[in-house]
């Protein structure tokens, strides 16, 4: 299986932008998610991103296609990085470009919201106190 939306390598925002934009686009909206150094009061050193790769790739492709069909003017690229990322590194990048800014912003925002809802990717935080899966840890229903 060829992975277009998942990578194990650092994300190059500039290259992504060049691959997405067209000469007809006057608005270029970029969103990047990065590893921050804190979560719910704990300090965070790194995050390990794991995925059900085959399904995550399909879900990401489905979301991209869905948004493109809802907004036919927009060019959209989405890439999620997996593996161990340190504080400050980019985990997800979304580039939405269009003639005008309203659609570019909207699609960029909507893409990250849909991705966070349904794509089977999980993160495990590493802090000085140890490692924790974010969300459900199997003990308490949250």
């Amino acid at each position: 299986m060829k992975f277009r939306h998942l990578t194990d390598d650092p994300i190059d925002m500039g290259r992504l932008l060049d691959e997405t934009r067209r000469d007809s686009d006057g608005a270029l909206a970029l969103f990047a998610g990065a590893v921050r150094n804190h979560h719910e009061g704990r300090s965070v050193e790194s995050i390990f991103y794991e995925a059900y790769r085959e399904m995550a790739e399909k879900e990401l492709a489905r979301i991209v296609e869905e948004l493109k069909s809802e907004h036919s003017e927009v060019s959209l690229t989405v890439i999620h990085r997996l593996g161990l990322l340190r504080v400050g590194e980019i985990s997800i990048a979304i580039v939405a470009t269009s003639s005008h800014r309203a659609e570019a912003f909207e699609v960029c925002r909507e893409a990250i919201e849909r991705i966070k809802r349904s794509v089977p990717i999980w993160k495990k935080e590493r802090s000085p106190d140890g490692e924790t899966w974010v969300g459900w840890q199997g003990e308490n229903r949250s």
Partner: protein, 81 residues
């Protein structure tokens, strides 16, 4: 019939393995597989309802009737981004 059961993230840790090949009776559902998981792993005993389920890499109801060769996945709450 034979199916593949995949568990990810915290569920992989609890199960001790990501992938299992299981011989199951015709008509088995993901819900039945979850009951089996709960029986085996005390950490899951209070979770009557399975987490999200995917069959052949698409979200599916836990009551889906499985077919020979299906790939079933238990998907804990996702946290990508």
């Amino acid at each position: 019939m034979q199916i593949r059961l995949l568990c990810f993230a915290v569920l992989e840790e609890i199960a001790g393995t990501r992938e299992q090949r299981l011989e199951v009776a015709t008509g088995t559902t993901p819900q039945d597989l979850w009951a089996m998981m709960r029986g085996k792993h005390p950490r899951l005993s209070s979770y009557v309802t399975p987490p999200l389920v995917a069959v052949n890499q698409e979200y599916a109801p836990p009551t889906t009737r499985l077919e020979d060769g299906d790939e079933v996945a238990f998907i804990p709450p996702v946290s990508g981004g």
